[in-house]
Symmetry: C2
Subunit: 166 residues, 2 copies
Amino acid sequence: MKSAAIRRATPLDSDAIWGIFHPIVARGDTYAFDPRISRAEALAYWLHPANWCYVAEHQGNVVGTYVLRSNQSGPGSHVANAAFMVSLGAQHLGVGRKMGEHSLSEARRLGFLAMQFNFVVSTNEPAVRLWQQLGFEIAGTLPGAFRHPEKGLVDAYVMFRSLALA
Amino acid sequence: MKSAAIRRATPLDSDAIWGIFHPIVARGDTYAFDPRISRAEALAYWLHPANWCYVAEHQGNVVGTYVLRSNQSGPGSHVANAAFMVSLGAQHLGVGRKMGEHSLSEARRLGFLAMQFNFVVSTNEPAVRLWQQLGFEIAGTLPGAFRHPEKGLVDAYVMFRSLALA
């Protein structure tokens, strides 16, 4: 991934973001989005004005995207939340890890004190393992909270890490 | 609370709901809402079309309100989420318990399989105790995730219970 670059998204990235988002969500096995979500709804969510949105480019193509935001409002706004998607055609290039590291750096820069993922599907083992490698712990298990298209009701994890420097 | 009645809210309840919501949120010690949230923002959130919204009446006055909704979309939509507020002038009447029991019954009736609270502030001990008495368990602890106005950063809990009948 030496050639990968991460930058803030612009509205001009909308086609590329939808091109990544839609196939992943349509599979329905990793994210709690309606698999039939429309392009307009998806982009309104992902490019919401309260989000910081980024894209990862590899060899000139947008192959990943992530969003960063406060997980809660007011007295909970010092904890960040982030969501990540890597193009199904660009798995195993390290794009997710690169975006994860970038998000931690950005979250610190923006003054967040911690980062939380609300809903990591337990059967999405590459994601669970990546977040653990990046310092996240499973803070809680939500029993049967995700309806997997093949496996039925499976657990989801709440994952959390402090952004305090060691 | 024999005289209390719980019914679906209507737009005519807006003044009463804001009258309960605003003082609680302005104190900033139990909910992750911006204490300066406007009436319009608060009502748009509480009476969102995707929510089921209820009010509790005691001696003819609205003294409590709660909302019920899916906690996640799509493959996570079988888990309910709810949020509760009791008028500061009507604490200790059992309104919260009555609404909690009502919400569990309503959630079952609507077909939800479980209920999750994403952010119960740990120092809000009456709430934590009530939810435990109503069968919720602390599924996870979010370290320092709530900035309490007097106590500084305190933990918040994710609480969860199945709605399967025993």
